[in-house]
């Protein structure tokens, strides 16, 4: 039978652990960037499908991308933001994940 405490347990680096937790709490943004090739109607359809937006809201974001070069589509936890960016890349949109300022 193995002894329960065979070797000393390494002390975790508390400072490092705290920093990681803070990083996880920082909200992340899903940003879509302008692309002259993707059609406006196509981009609107993708926003409706991925985020469940109404047509009006999807068009508002699409026009923001078109006129301002980018639009923040969603903000929140990193894991979900990554999933959204993955879906948007699946539709071939130029999307990135950014830490909220």
């Amino acid at each position: 039978m193995k002894p329960l405490l065979a070797a000393p347990v390494e002390t975790p680096d508390l400072e490092q652990a705290t920093r990681s937790a803070e990083e996880l709490d920082v909200p992340w943004q899903v940003v879509v960037h302008n692309d002259p090739v993707n059609l406006m109607t196509y981009v609107t359809m993708v926003f409706q499908k991925v985020f469940g937006f109404t047509r009006e809201k999807a068009e508002k974001h699409m026009l923001e991308v078109h006129q301002l070069g980018r639009s923040i589509l969603w903000s929140g936890m990193r894991e979900r933001a990554e999933l959204y960016v993955q879906q948007l890349h699946g539709y071939l949109l130029l999307a990135t994940l950014e830490r909220a300022a």
């Binding site: 993955q86 890349h89 999307a95």
Partner: protein, 163 residues
């Protein structure tokens, strides 16, 4: 060329041999191999380069999935395009029926092809808005026509699948 909805299909009739050939070229045109610019556009970075860990993990875990997704779409489109390889007269107009169940695959393949061609030729915004340029001038003009024709088809498909 005429496009109409026919039950569970999108019917493209009166396709002349030139447009039919452009359709046949969708799967090949969607392939980014050999063009760094096209590869970078289809598989763009998920974040700023300073997010090294995220970008590296993305390359390893997400990019292969996206490749499979894109390939699956072009394969479905290639299967639909088999209709154009029938035994009809060589220069006769033909008809293509796209099942609406494949509409998303078509949208994806057409988009892949447009992005790959546009990346290879580095078209300017002004060129992309020039819908009246003849395809007969040069290879570049033909490719621009191809991008616009595929865009027109995307618009038609979007109109048909809109709720």
């Amino acid at each position: 060329m005429e496009i109409e909805r026919a039950g569970t299909h999108l019917k493209i009739s009166e396709l002349d041999p030139f447009l039919a050939e452009l359709l046949r070229q969708i799967p090949e045109s969607a392939n980014p191999s050999g063009s760094e610019a096209a590869e970078q556009r289809l598989f763009s970075a998920p974040a700023d380069a300073s997010e090294k860990e995220l970008c590296t993990e993305w390359k390893v875990y997400v990019e292969p999935e996206l490749r499979r997704l894109f390939q699956s779409a072009t394969e479905r489109v290639a299967a639909d395009l088999e209709q154009l390889n029938g035994n009809g007269k060589p220069f006769a107009n033909c008809t293509l029926r796209i099942p609406l169940a494949n509409a998303e695959a078509w949208l994806s393949a057409l988009n892949q092809a447009r992005l790959v061609i546009a990346s290879k030729y580095n078209f300017s915004d002004a060129e992309l808005c020039d819908h009246y340029r003849s395809p007969m001038g040069s290879r570049r003009d033909l490719s621009l026509f191809q991008v616009n024709f595929y865009g027109f088809l995307q618009e038609c498909i979007l109109r048909e699948i809109a709720p």
